[in-house]
Assembly symmetry: C2
Homo-oligomer: 251 residues x 2
């Protein structure tokens, strides 16, 4: 029997700076209704992780290459911002109509290699890059919660990605610790006893989506707790969410 | 300030048959913790809507075309199942490695045009098709809740779609009534007062994801209520989620 799930905003996170101890700030902010419990999923938006890990770059420190200059023509993007995108890209998947879709070092495919100028102080003069190892960022938070509170929680680092075919972006998991990112129903009978085959649900992405409903884009609430969800056990990291090229029809 | 969101499973929906009155069954099942409140988002999985609307086909009533026979070779799919996929497709987007990605009559791009054999009685001898007009299916439920209870609720019909690049499927909205499917932050200042541009969030899809965490695939819980989310006002239908071909790099 399915139980109710709660999605709880974590209020009162301070402004995060380079070098800040995200786990310590989180543990301090998780009070009252956001007091952590075993089995919670702590969903942390990427931007504060990037800030704390020093993954913020001043455009004035970047020199745009000729390619970056060419790709920025006719777009709103500063060529130095484009240069940051190129430097964060392992592969350019599409470059058309002013948009750069690239594969990141983690294997994620997204617009601008996840390089983004929103919700960072300094406005258009600064850009945030994805964490170098977002699974390790998640594991670090999970470990610290276990040490400080003795609680077993899952941690997701989330970011906002667009997708082909459908308008609007949704949140996805770019870092996962303490759970399996996929619920695997292969070989499980459905409600009529028939075998479901090839049904894997990206529950880590669905958890990121649920959390986005309370963290939003403009609310200044960078963390949410999803409580009451019995997540699949394991420790797949976010790499379980990356489809191997050989099984992807849209590379 | 963001408040807490609750995702509440609606237990006790009976087995749905062709011709059943889904709104009446829903109103009956929504009791106790699932008693409806104004502002709720009622998320109804596609399969029960298709069943009630007679969108279930017996394979024995289908004759496979030569194309369906050819496309089924080397796959697990019954050629008559493939024929149903072809008949539900407005366009084949990709056909490779046994997979058919097609565009439906609604403009959705998904595997097998949404034709699916899981969670219907009769097992592999029957397939379910998407509702002919899933927005109208959603509007009908919304109207009946307003008539019976005097409550203004939003309604989403959800289905499970795969996506390029990422492993695992997630739930999406294929029918939307009583809300705008997208939260539009264009021209809204972010937490630092900078303007967010080109940021639209597909909140109807995120709501479908949140609901999937309680409806699952094998739980026999086909409906969930998302409570406490202040959804964007409007009545865009699901068509707002369909990216026009001219703005899509992956057709």
């Amino acid at each position: 029997m399915a139980g109710e799930i709660r999605v709880i905003p974590v209020e009162g996170m301070p402004e995060v700076q380079n070098g800040d101890d995200i786990p310590a700030l989180l543990l301090e902010a998780c009070t009252g209704p956001a007091e952590l419990e075993a089995g919670d999923v702590l969903v942390v938006t990427q931007k504060i992780v990037s800030k704390a890990e020093g993954r913020v770059v001043q455009l004035e420190d970047i020199v745009a290459s000729p390619l970056a200059l060419a790709l920025s023509e006719g777009t709103h993007r500063d060529p130095r911002h484009t240069e940051a995108v190129l430097q964060e890209s392992a592969r350019i998947v599409r470059n058309d109509r002013g948009t750069i879709i690239s594969e990141t070092r983690h294997g994620f495919i997204c617009a601008n290699a996840g390089v983004d100028a929103s919700n960072i102080p300094g406005g258009s003069g600064t850009v945030a890059l994805l964490p170098l190892d977002s699974d390790e960022s998640a594991r670090r938070i999970r470990r610290r919660v276990a040490e400080a509170k003795g609680l077993d929680v899952a941690v997701i680092i989330s970011d906002t990605f667009g997708r082909p075919w459908r308008e609007g972006a949704t949140n996805v998991a770019i870092g996962v610790a303490g759970m399996h990112a996929l619920a695997d129903y292969r070989g499980t009978p459905d409600a009529y006893g028939e075998m479901l085959y090839t049904t894997m649900i990206a529950v880590a992405d669905e958890l990121a989506c649920a959390a986005e409903l309370v963290t939003g884009k403009t609310l200044g609430v960078p963390v949410a707790i999803v409580r009451g969800y019995r997540y699949p056990l394991g420790d797949s990291g976010s790499q379980a969410l990356v489809r191997p090229a050989a099984r992807d029809l849209f590379r």
